[in-house]
């Protein structure tokens, strides 16, 4: 079994790499040197090795847990925070996902970011992100989780805005931070509510209190909904999804790692971590299911019409995260997390594929692509594998986990099941729309590119980028096999049947549901082929036919306008806050200045009374005396 000190090392290795790159390499080493990349890769490679060791150690334990002693971080009166590691099967799986995808992406980045003036900064931020994400995964209490939750938010901000000289990137970074922070407000409120009622942040203790019923009623419901608000912000669930498509302004490997495979899945992880709290509140559980199911189809509709290949993938990510939420709410930890596990590999692969295409063409706009199949066969093949997996085609990874989500939704939420099934169709359609627009047909490349240097000739990407993609491609095929035997469910502690691999592989077709799902997915692929490959049906004509819907999807339901223009700019900044400002200078400060002026004026007026003429003084004196006498006569009795 792995010594617990080494589990801590999983977290500290990327931290060390961050510190060394930020404090030593960046100030002292020339920008052309690639040492920072090697450092980051060595650190994350070490973390991956330790994570795999940890996973096997956890598997060997009968309880699927390893005890790690906690440390007191803060102690004030009744408040005591013990930080430590919660090492169970969920943590172990997440560790491997995070470190594995992170390693692949950082190797790929060696090629993708080569020659960028911010090369050192890039790997420093990447290490910071990995450290934060691992801290989040390892956390044994909600406060520690919140700390690293915000830190991954920071890393995401820094990496989205990596090319900060582009106003679009700087805006997207700010938007991502603020929108997720809006969700974090809910998370924070949940923390306060839970602490005020239980006096602890410890996850195991809180789960125990929820299961035993000590923690229940409205408190539990609100706490769970607060936690889900945080999760919805980070996992880009409706109505807080608006930041993720914009986040595509960051470098593409960043999108692959942070905005597809790991950080955006943190919300799903958080809900899985605290699932017993949700399970004891029907309202909270239904909220998760409905938001998840709705987001899945809602995001998919916008993916249907996007022209930017990364945005298609971004909407797809939002949609798949919705699936995971639906899976958690209807099928439990194993179902939701299994989809997260598979999704991490095939979606990272797809993003790296998009990056590879960009590397060759200098654009993300699919209208300027076409015909890349011949130029970059490896990228094409791998992109197809990723798309098939995402579309849920048997026997690739996506099929297995999506099937479980659909099955549990059918069982618990039939209406959401129908939405999810429609989403399967859309998913297959938009992915193969992207495949055909990008890789088949004739080239629609414009002759002049902004990124002319090195990109003018279309080419296949170098091996340093292809090898990580091939590894992820293999995983996109096989990662789903873990649960063909029922092994993943058993590892996650779910009771269920286990069977031999071959029996599971074909036995799944004994049920009608996989047939239906496959048929729906295949028809999605077929429609995409008819419209974008063979052109039997013109996409423009279809677009005209459904003009209102098309406009609605293309404009993202006008939610960006509603939030930014109407609410934030028009209402908050220019009405309410402007009113406050007017009040502050006009009324509050005006009163202070007015008091000063009044004192001045009173002084001036009184000075006029000091005429120096005795007659006037005597007159005043006499009048005052009379006034006193009158008063005494009237009120005296």
């Amino acid at each position: 079994m792995i010594p617990y000190q080494l589990i801590w090392l999983i977290f500290f290795l990327p931290l060390i790499s961050f510190a060394v790159i930020a404090l030593v390499v960046r100030p002292l080493v020339k920008p052309g040197n690639r040492i920072s990349g090697y450092l980051a890769i060595a650190a994350i490679g070490g973390s991956l090795a330790l994570s795999i060791w940890t996973l096997f150690s956890v598997m060997q334990q009968a309880s699927h847990e390893i005890a790690v002693p906690a440390i007191t971080w803060l102690s004030i009166g009744s408040l005591s925070v013990q930080i430590g590691i919660l090492m169970d099967s969920l943590t172990a799986v997440m560790l491997v996902v995070v470190t594995l995808v992170s390693l692949m992406v950082q190797i790929y980045s060696q090629g993708y970011m080569r020659g960028d003036p911010g090369y050192h900064r890039y790997f420093a931020w990447m290490s910071l992100f990995t450290m934060s994400m691992l801290g989040l995964v390892l956390a044994n209490n909600l406060l520690m989780m919140f700390v690293f939750w915000e830190m991954v938010g920071l890393s995401s901000y820094l990496l989205i805005g990596f090319w900060f000289h582009k106003p679009a990137a700087a805006n997207a970074a700010k938007k991502a931070f603020i929108v997720t922070r809006l969700g974090d407000f809910g998370f924070l409120a949940a923390l306060l509510l839970l602490f005020a009622n239980t006096g602890t942040f410890d996850i195991i203790a809180l789960r125990g209190l929820a299961i035993s019923g000590v923690l229940g009623g409205a408190v539990l419901t609100w706490a769970a909904i607060g936690i889900f608000a945080g999760a919805a912000g980070k996992s880009a669930q409706f109505p807080l999804h608006v930041w993720l498509p914009d986040a595509m302004e960051g470098p593409t490997p960043v999108s692959a790692l942070i905005h597809a495979a790991t950080m955006v899945a943190a919300g799903v992880f958080l809900v899985a971590r605290t699932l017993p709290l949700f399970e004891h509140s029907l309202v909270a559980m239904n909220t998760v299911a409905i938001i998840g199911g709705f987001t899945a189809i809602f995001a998919a509709t916008m993916g249907l019409v996007a022209f930017d290949i990364k945005r298609v993938l971004a909407y797809s990510t939002v949609s798949q995260l919705g699936y995971m939420m639906l899976g958690l709410a209807t099928g439990g930890v194993a179902v939701g997390i299994f989809h997260l596990f598979n999704h991490a590999f095939f979606k990272a692969l797809l993003f790296l594929g998009a990056g590879s295409v960009n590397h060759a063409t200098g654009t993300f706009d699919m209208r300027e692509m076409g015909g890349l199949r011949k130029v970059m066969p490896w990228t094409y093949g791998l992109f197809i594998v990723g798309s098939l997996s995402l579309a849920g085609i048997w026997p690739l990874a996506g099929f297995w986990s999506k099937d479980e989500v659909l099955a549990s939704a059918l069982d618990k939420q039939p209406i959401l099941f129908v939405l999810a099934l429609i989403t399967v169709f859309m998913t297959a359609f938009y992915m193969f729309r992207a495949v055909f627009m990008t890789f088949t047909g004739a080239s629609r490349a414009k002759t002049h590119h902004e990124h002319a240097e090195g990109h003018s000739i279309r080419h296949e990407s170098p091996a340093v980028m292809l090898v990580p993609m091939i590894i992820l491609g293999v995983l996109a095929v096989v990662s789903g096999f873990w649960n063909v035997t029922g092994g993943f469910n058993a590892f996650m502690g779910e009771a269920g049947e286990t069977h031999s691999f071959i029996a599971g592989l074909f036995g799944v077709f004994a049920h009608p549901l996989p047939w239906i799902a496959l048929l729906v997915a295949c028809s999605g692929v077929a429609l995409a082929a008819i419209m974008y490959n063979t052109r039997l049906l013109s996409p423009e004509k279809v677009g005209k036919l459904f003009k209102p819907l098309y406009t609605l999807f293309l404009n993202k339901y006008w939610l960006d306008q509603l939030y930014e223009k109407l609410f934030v700019n028009n209402f908050l900044l220019n009405k309410l806050f402007a009113g406050f400002q007017w009040f502050d200078t006009g009324v509050v400060d005006g009163a202070a200045n007015g008091a000063g002026d009044a004192t001045n004026a009173a002084g001036k007026a009184l000075r006029r009374a000091q005429t120096g003429q005795l007659q006037v003084y005597a007159l005043t004196l006499g009048l005052g005396l009379i006034a006193i006498i009158v008063c005494v006569l009237i009120f005296g009795h």
Partner: protein, 494 residues
């Protein structure tokens, strides 16, 4: 003379040397100022390390010096520190030295500038260390004089208006405070804060205790500042020279928060409990309304100044939530705001000095030309918006947790949640500011702008190290705060 007195009066010794030695070179004056602020800093750290943290010393004043001063009115030169005041003495000592470095590029009437600056340090240190109310009041009043000259001579913009406004606001508060101190004296016959705390319950008050409480708190509320007494702050901060803005935001505002805890809450726990709802509402208004107005600012320094109104609201919320955790949070927020906003003002000053521009609408793209300033400015900003692992988060989180679970004030949960919206707004104005100054395409007009030099690196590193240290290991400070807060919190439970 004890160590505490040395810390307080060494800057005055510096003042005397600078004032009396004729024909001093500019450099020599600055070095003298650096030496006579560095020794107090070193001593303050020494006190911090040798401070007795054993459970037997909870609530005990340490390093006390008690000399008869004016026997006729029973007034003493009585100084000492406990867990609440020691970190503030340390904060002022840190800022005192760093501000000399920050002011290194002042070339206008250097001699007078540093005389006033050192005098300011002594007066603020005196406020935090005094245990005699008359002595406390004396230091409180002395501080006005250097502030007036520093703003009106070395300031910018409407500096004489702002300086005068500062003086009048403070003096109005002081007048009420003096009346309150007199009332306390005639009630208990003592000026010793510790004695008064014990005697006040049994003594027959000359005027109702509630009246004394309010007389005293008006002065503190103006200084903190509490809505609606805050309008002097944006003007004074904006127009003061950089170094003075740092002391003003970093240490001077804390005199208000410290006074409320040490005098109002400690001496009048029952009155504080009765009136807590009022102050909590004012705190919430300060937080949200302050943040909202911050979002409308276009001047770099004015934006940071208004953010202080919002951040000091958390101090007031923490204090009047009246629980042990929330009071520790409020105290930590004072320290944290001191280093975070101190650094923000220092960096704003650096941007203004190097780029010659303070209008956020005209700045932009500086991250290319001044990467070091950009990193440190952003870090200070992140601490200001309460990012975890910075001091800002630890402090605000403790205020929230302490306030939300406080059993003292009914309905406080709602107020706490409304206050937490301030954190979202803070993200808005801080990130907007950073984007406006540093991001976007690099502008040609700033091509000649210099990045931070070695001297500036020294204080930048010191500030950043402190912010991270307190953020990652808040117990360094919370353990010591707790020693002063625990005895007070006991009397607050109804």
């Amino acid at each position: 003379m004890g160590l505490l007195s040395l810390i307080i009066f060494l800057p005055v010794l510096g003042v005397i040397l600078i004032a009396l030695i004729p024909r001093l070179a500019e450099k020599t004056i600055k070095w003298l100022a650096a030496v006579f602020t560095f020794i107090p800093l070193a001593l303050a750290f020494y006190l911090f390390f040798v401070f007795d943290r054993s459970s037997g010393s909870i609530g005990v004043m340490q390093f006390q010096e008690n000399l008869s001063w004016i026997p006729a009115i029973n007034s003493f030169y009585h100084v000492g520190v406990d867990g609440i005041s020691l970190p503030l003495v340390l904060l002022m000592a840190i800022l005192g030295f760093l501000v000399v470095l920050i002011s290194w590029k002042v070339h206008l009437r250097v001699k007078e500038y540093f005389i006033w600056l050192l005098l300011l340090e002594t007066s603020i240190l005196g406020v935090f260390a005094s245990l005699d109310l008359l002595l406390f009041f004396l230091f409180w009043e002395i501080e006005i004089v250097p502030m007036y000259f520093l703003i009106s001579i070395w300031g910018t913009g409407r500096r004489s208006y702002s300086a005068m406004k500062y003086v009048i606001f403070t003096l109005v508060g002081s007048a009420f405070m003096l009346a309150g101190i007199l009332a306390l004296y005639f009630t208990t016959g003592s000026l010793n804060m510790l004695e008064i705390t014990q005697k006040i319950g049994a003594a027959a008050a000359v005027i109702p205790l509630t009246a004394i409480f309010f007389l005293l708190i008006i002065g503190f509320a103006i200084k903190l500042p509490v809505f609606p007494l805050h309008t002097w702050l944006p003007d004074a901060h904006t127009d003061a020279p950089t170094g003075v803005s740092v002391v003003l935001a970093g240490a001077l505002l804390k005199m208000g928060g410290y006074g409320i805890i040490r005098v109002c809450v400690s001496i009048f726990p029952d009155v504080a409990r009765t009136w807590a709802p009022l102050f909590i509402v004012l705190a919430v208004i300060g937080i949200i309304y302050g943040a909202a107005i911050t979002l409308r600012q276009t001047d770099l320094k004015r934006l940071i100044a208004y953010s202080s109104v919002s951040h000091m609201g958390y101090v007031l919320l923490g204090i009047f939530a009246l629980s042990q955790v929330s009071l520790v949070g409020a105290s930590l927020q004072m320290f944290s705001h001191g280093i975070v906003t101190g650094l923000l003002f220092a960096m704003a000053g650096l941007v203004m000095h190097n780029a010659g521009e303070r209008d956020l609408r005209k700045l932009g793209g500086l991250a290319k030309q001044t990467p070091l300033i950009a990193v440190v400015f952003s870090l200070a900003g992140l601490a200001s918006l309460g990012l975890p692992l910075t001091s800002g988060f630890a402090a605000e989180f403790l205020v929230f947790v302490g306030a939300f679970s406080s059993k003292v004030v009914a309905g406080i949960q709602v107020y706490t949640l409304i206050s937490a919206i301030g954190v979202v707004l803070a993200a808005g104005y801080i990130l907007w500011m950073i984007q406006r100054v540093f991001f976007g395409p690099a502008l040609e007009k700033f091509n000649a702008v210099k990045d931070a030099d070695k001297l500036e690196m020294v204080y930048m590193v010191a500030f950043v190290a402190l912010i991270l240290l307190v953020g990652i290991f808040p117990s360094i400070l919370t353990n010591i705060y707790n020693m002063g807060i625990e005895p007070i919190a006991k009397f607050l439970i109804p």
